[in-house]
Symmetry: C2
């Protein structure tokens, strides 16, 4: 690819969109400039462009994203066959287990939820397609990492901010690599309150016909109500049968 095949104005604009988050819902031109590292003049031009296109609102002082931004993410969810294919299976799975069922893929060192059937809220945070969690401490993240070669998995773990969310959280590379090895052998991952106290989950890989892992699916449950052993004995078989039904549909 040549130098001129990259539109830096586009890249800068995208970084401006990503500058908005929970901590910074309303941003001034200077704020954006600080966060993105763009010149104030450039940041302003990006923001005015977003506002003009209806992707952002501007009250003369602060910019905020408008719901039209959701079109962009939604393009992915509707354009990608996998989320739409998985959804009905997750609905079934959630029904059979009485718990929330989700599917996700990897993006960098995070997992991204691409489909979900939520049964009842068990987590403090609300999860939706598009939501992200660190891969190192989530059941689906571990399944997806375990499917990679050791070198790649290790470098993702190293690039992660491996903080101990709970006393249970595994944080060292050694612990995590051993865990990935185990997951790879047994074919599933179990998280026992490593992300949040009270939250357990179990995940398995979803493979296409060539055997490549293309996603993970999981079931989450409340810790005091369900033990890790119960998850393996009761949920795992249902999940595996769901996956087997799926398997034929995947390219």
């Amino acid at each position: 690819m040549r130098e001129t095949d990259f539109i830096s104005g586009f890249a800068k604009g995208l970084s401006v969109i990503e500058a908005f988050d929970a901590a910074n819902p309303r941003l001034s031109i200077t704020d954006i400039s600080r966060i993105t590292g763009l010149e104030r003049a450039t940041a302003r031009r990006c923001l005015l462009t977003l506002a003009q296109l209806g992707y952002a609102d501007y009250d003369g002082k602060f910019f905020s994203l408008s719901p039209r931004i959701l079109r962009l993410g939604h393009s992915y969810l509707t354009a990608t066959p996998l989320p739409r294919l998985l959804q009905p299976f997750l609905d079934q799975l959630s029904e059979k287990t009485g718990e929330s069922a989700s599917a996700s893929v990897l993006d960098g060192n995070e997992i991204v939820y691409i489909a979900r059937a939520s049964h009842k809220r068990v987590m403090s945070i609300n999860l939706n397609p598009g939501s992200r969690l660190p891969a190192y401490c989530s059941s689906m993240g571990r399944v997806l990492l375990a499917a990679m070669n050791d070198g790649d998995a290790k470098s993702i773990l190293e690039s992660s901010n491996r903080k101990a969310n709970t006393p249970n959280t595994k944080t060292t590379i050694a612990e995590l690599m051993a865990e990935l090895q185990l997951i790879s052998e047994q074919g599933y991952a179990v998280i026992d309150q490593e992300l949040e106290i009270g939250l357990c989950s179990i995940a398995i890989p979803v493979r296409n016909m060539r055997g490549t892992t293309i996603a993970a699916l999981n079931v989450g449950a409340q810790a005091p109500r369900v033990t890790v052993d119960e998850m393996v004995t009761t949920y795992l078989p249902v999940m595996q049968s769901t996956r087997d039904t799926l398997a034929g549909l995947l390219v």
Copy 2:
């Protein structure tokens, strides 16, 4: 705003992202050029930029969006206080009514779901934050249109592709404007299988402290199981009480 305050490269890039949808999950350079109306060379540069940034995958022939795209839409959901504020109330509402509860805002002639507590699937399509429905034939859309002045509402209706999804669907401007008037007077909107056979829903406006309607919230139910009258007598009071609890939290 001056001419030079608009970055056309950015705008073009965004239109490229939106070119992907369910019918076109994988697109070549020429496809994109056709859909967006951009020059092939420009379309190519946009796509290569997306690929280079990790927002798209490229197999040498076709481009497809990558899950990283979801970051963009998610920026809105996490950065905007309203969705996060509404979510727990929708959870409660869904629990109390035993049905799915949602909140949405208007974007052009569509409503955009910004939060949702789904109970069990009643619709053929799966709804999530970011999902869109035409405003003219959805309960929340009608509530949001009824909150606008007549001229604006009318022009949105006129710009809509008002197709009859079912025999019940109101499609003429006259019918719809009369319906908006009624909704405005009674303070709620009821849809009886106008979007999909078997689907009923009821919606009310959510207003901020200045009295401006900033969103709509609704409860959906299955038609044979629940009648329109039952929705008004049983769900409406619960919804109104949810909204009243909310009201104090809205700026």
